[in-house]
């Protein structure tokens, strides 16, 4: 036995936050929750309080001169975590505004201690602590008063074995020169960053004594259920590197000719990137892929980033949706975060039990994404495809690109490296006609045809020629007829 003290961890009840904290909040710690007005500080404090508070672990919430308590109660109870039954036996609110107006810090400290001794809390919150600081005398005397007050509060709460939170409107520049940050064991900074009229909320663990926390800024969302944090982490694939599938299970794509090229269909759980210029049939292929699943009793999810009217004419898709075989996800937000997209996808997959997903298309997704996610489209797509891989669904993802210069390019931003399989669809001018051709560029872990085949779009879908084309230099866009072998 080492004899070292064990730091007990408290689960915050905020999804994702414990991962950032390195397992949870240290018991009896003194943590500053800092951020600009509206960044979610009070909501974060309440969510933690309602999650942890019980009759055996009571919480005392001091309100000072910030948000009026009546308004705070009015708005906080809108969140699902606000459990009315805990008010009274497990949670008590105390307003310190009059004490702060009436006297000095020592009076406030004594009032806090009286309430603490009366209610015997294990959790103490002071919101907003900035209000306390602003009442300090100016100059060195005020600074000394404040430092003394914070040290006293910190040591008394630790002695009382209360895990304490100070909530304040601080910026990064504020806290660096502030005695609070020296005394505090931990600091959680919240921010909402404006970029091109889009706001993305972020959370950062600036400091957390005694435990290895995750650095960096991580996205958070505030929903009816409160705050949810999205650590910048990928969830590991289950059972990876433990077994090797003896035989890949393949799923039909809905286009028999394409299944031939894939040597029996798309391997289960693979993501196929379908690339090609506008009008080449990518959306039709996506619809056929979903129809093929529905024919086998599989549910599908379609995520569309094209304008709505284009899909009103897709009768096959409308029928799939009406029959409950496909769920369509569409964003109305033009400040979409990848996390929202992943949340919607996860919810839809779990709710419907979907085994097939179509995303149409990655070329337009940038129109919906908030700037920081659009700037790094490749990372956004990588995170999306990683989620699909983790879920084990088979996916078809389309991407368009400039069609003015035929070449060997298969996607924008090198997205083709992120997919398990790549299908290239091309136009070529042949004897006065614009004809369509397709070829499978890659399929990870399995063989596939390397033939270029012509195809036509008919009322029955995509009909692929059973034979390799007799044209050469197709990928250049200006093919020549191949001489018959002699």
């Amino acid at each position: 036995m080492s004899g070292k003290v064990t730091l007990e961890k408290l689960c915050t009840g905020v999804p994702g936050l414990d991962v950032l904290l390195g397992g949870g909040l240290t018991e009896f710690s003194f943590t500053l929750i800092a951020g600009a007005p509206g960044s979610g500080k009070t909501t974060l404090a309440h969510q933690i309080m309602f999650s942890l508070a019980s009759q055996q672990r009571r919480a005392l919430f001091f309100t000072v001169l910030g948000e009026p308590p009546l308004k705070m109660l009015r708005y906080q109870q809108q969140f699902s975590f606000f459990d009315m039954d805990k008010i009274g036996p497990a949670i008590r609110y105390v307003n310190l505004a009059d004490d702060l107006r009436a006297g000095d810090f020592s009076g406030v400290l004594e009032r806090i201690m009286r309430e603490v001794e009366d209610f015997a809390p294990s959790l103490v919150f002071v919101d907003s602590f900035r209000s306390v600081v602003q009442t300090a005398r100016s100059g060195n005397e005020g600074l000394w008063d404040l430092q003394h007050f914070i040290q006293e509060l910190g040591s008394r709460m630790a002695t009382w074995q209360a895990t304490t939170f100070l909530i304040g409107e601080y910026s990064q520049a504020d806290v660096e020169a502030n005695p609070i940050i020296t005394v505090a064991d931990g600091m959680i900074a919240l921010s909402h960053n404006l970029d091109e009229d889009s706001v993305v909320r972020k959370i950062r663990i600036v400091k957390m004594r005694g435990q290895a926390h995750m650095a960096g800024a991580h996205t958070l969302r505030i929903t009816d259920d409160g705050i949810r944090v999205y650590p910048r982490l990928l969830t590991p694939l289950r059972e990876v590197y433990q077994t090797v599938a003896a035989d890949l299970h393949r799923v039909p794509t809905g286009v028999p000719g394409l299944d031939d090229l894939l040597h029996g269909g798309l391997p289960l759980g693979h993501t196929m990137l379908v690339s090609g210029p506008t009008g080449i049939g990518k959306t039709i292929l996506g619809t056929r892929f979903l129809q093929a699943g529905a024919a086998q009793g599989e549910k599908g999810v379609a995520v569309f980033f094209e304008k709505h009217t284009a899909r009103l004419h897709n009768a096959a898709l409308v029928k799939l949706v009406q029959d409950g075989q496909v769920t369509v996800l569409e964003s109305l937000s033009l400040s979409l975060t990848v996390e929202e997209l992943l949340d919607q996808l996860t919810e839809a997959i779990e709710r419907t039990g979907a085994t097939r997903v179509v995303i149409d298309s990655l070329s337009e997704i940038g129109l919906y994404l908030a700037p920081e996610f659009r700037y790094d489209l490749r990372l956004s797509v990588f995170r999306t495809l990683s989620l699909l891989a983790r879920r084990g669904v088979t996916a078809l993802v389309t991407v368009g690109y400039d069609d003015n210069a035929p070449n060997w390019r298969f996607s924008i931003d090198n997205l083709c490296f992120l997919a398990d399989a790549v299908l290239s669809m091309r136009f070529a001018e042949v004897e006065g006609h614009v004809c369509k051709f397709l070829t499978v560029i890659k399929v990870r872990g399995t063989s596939h045809s390397n033939e270029l085949r012509e195809y036509r779009i008919t009322d029955d879908g995509i009909e692929v020629s059973p034979h390799v084309t007799n044209l050469d230099a197709l990928m250049s866009g200006y093919p020549t007829r191949r001489e018959p072998h002699k």
């Binding site: 009026p68 109660l73 109870q77 008010i87 009274g88 307003n95 294990s122």
Partner: protein, 139 residues
């Protein structure tokens, strides 16, 4: 009118005044409990604002009920209320108290919801002090 009759009038008036004071004291007790319960939670400012608003919503308005914006604490408000209730006709005082209390609770409920309002008001013990449960803590 003989001398005894002259003496009897002030005595009767004193008795009536004592009765009204006693009546007002009984009416003010729930307000004191309410103040003890709510002021720590919503502050003096919150309590005073709610009470003043409630008094203004009385219909018909009671001219005898003084509403003075200079009264900034619950103590000042309730002292004035007790004085006003004691000076009023007992039946009118009781009806006014009841209506005022109803409006106050509805106003609070409109802000924080009826469920939380009920929760907070039932937290007040019989003697008006919050329940103490320190001994069951940190076993």
């Amino acid at each position: 009118m003989d001398k005894d009759e002259n003496r009897a009038q002030p005595v009767a008036a004193d008795r009536m005044s004592d009765a009204r004071r006693g009546h007002a004291e009984a009416l003010i007790r729930p307000w004191s409990r309410l103040g003890r319960q709510l002021v720590p939670l919503i502050g003096e400012g919150g309590f005073v604002a709610l009470f003043t608003r409630s008094a203004r919503l009385l219909a018909p308005p009671r001219a005898w009920l003084s509403v003075d914006l200079a009264r900034r604490t619950s103590t000042l408000l309730l002292t004035a209320l007790e004085h006003d209730l004691a000076a009023a006709d007992p039946a009118d005082a009781a009806a006014t108290h009841e209506e005022l209390m109803g409006i106050f609770v509805r106003q609070l409920g409109a802000l924080i919801g009826p469920a939380l309002t009920t929760r907070l008001l039932t937290e007040t013990g019989a003697d008006g002090t919050p329940q103490k449960n320190q001994e069951e803590h940190k076993q």
